[in-house]
Subunit: 149 residues, 2 copies
DNA sequence: ATATGTGCAAATGGTTTGCAGTGAG
DNA sequence: CTCACTGCAAACCATTTGCACATAT
């Protein structure tokens, strides 16, 4: 995981460079997104901001997330079960392992995707720009809970 | 791709075996789903049925798709851009290559996922039950359209 | 005969939008 | 000073649900 402090700097610079304004609401959001602890959804981002800056509205969070998406500074995980989640710390495609019971999300190590992506491009003639790789199952804790329950 | 006729038989048997009724609406749907030509969404399934059996309602399509999902007889692709799409012909996880412009979806060949899945399980301690692997980009036709336009 | 399935229309829920007011630049 | 941003509330849209009727078994 990138250093959140550094990542925050990058995000601030990206905003400024593209002529967007830095409001207190956005600063609060960017702090949350720079770490993206636990791959938060819009709702979680909203909750975490309220401490920092209580008057923010959900609509604003949606708008800023959407802006960051367009800028390529957050990765959106569209997960049917769990809703949309975001990663602004590693905003490039990478695999995720998702617990279908508690919703916990991990970033496992897996380097080979670039090669596989090329192979798919060769095989299909598509010009591949990005991908999505998600594994679903039970996390160790939920496996235990299931046994004893 | 599995033979649609055979696949239809399997689906009919699965319904009956699990004590569900076979209505004309369902038969019409199952025919569409057994081939799953182009990985249709609910709306497309609905459109294709109307020829065969015009009084079907959208709600019924949703209900039956949902039933088949629970039965494990269709694979749901949750695609943010393009909406939910279904594959009732190969209802187990397999990779997809999706055109972000026209929405075309291909099933490329790629055998190595089982091994990768195991590796992820070992690395994370998760009990992995299924996965999702999607590649996004431009299909050959849309690449051309983009150049000349 | 019975309860599952259908079809309508209303409810839901996450996300987007319109717009008047606010504040960053 | 201006225009982008905010926040509220209304609009959206895919999906789900409730319920009375129809029908597969």
């Amino acid at each position: 995981m990138a250093d959140p402090r550094e990542r925050l700097e990058q995000l601030l610079r990206a905003l400024k460079d593209q002529g967007h304004r830095l409001t207190p609401q956005r600063l609060a959001m960017l702090k949350v997104i720079a770490r993206s602890e636990g791959h938060p959804g819009v709702e979680q981002i909203y909750e975490r901001i309220k401490g920092d800056f209580p008057t923010t509205s959900l609509a604003t969070v949606y708008k800023t997330v959407s802006l960051l998406k367009e800028m390529g500074e957050v990765l959106e995980l569209s997960l049917a079960h769990v809703g949309n989640r975001y990663d602004g710390n590693k905003p490039y495609p990478h695999p995720h392992v998702i617990c279908t019971k508690c919703g916990q999300i991990l970033d496992p190590e897996f380097a080979a995707m670039a090669g596989i992506s090329q192979e798919m491009a060769r095989q299909t003639g598509y010009q591949i720009t990005h991908h999505q790789l998600n594994f679903f199952g039970l996390c160790p804790k939920c496996q235990q809970d299931g046994q004893s329950a």
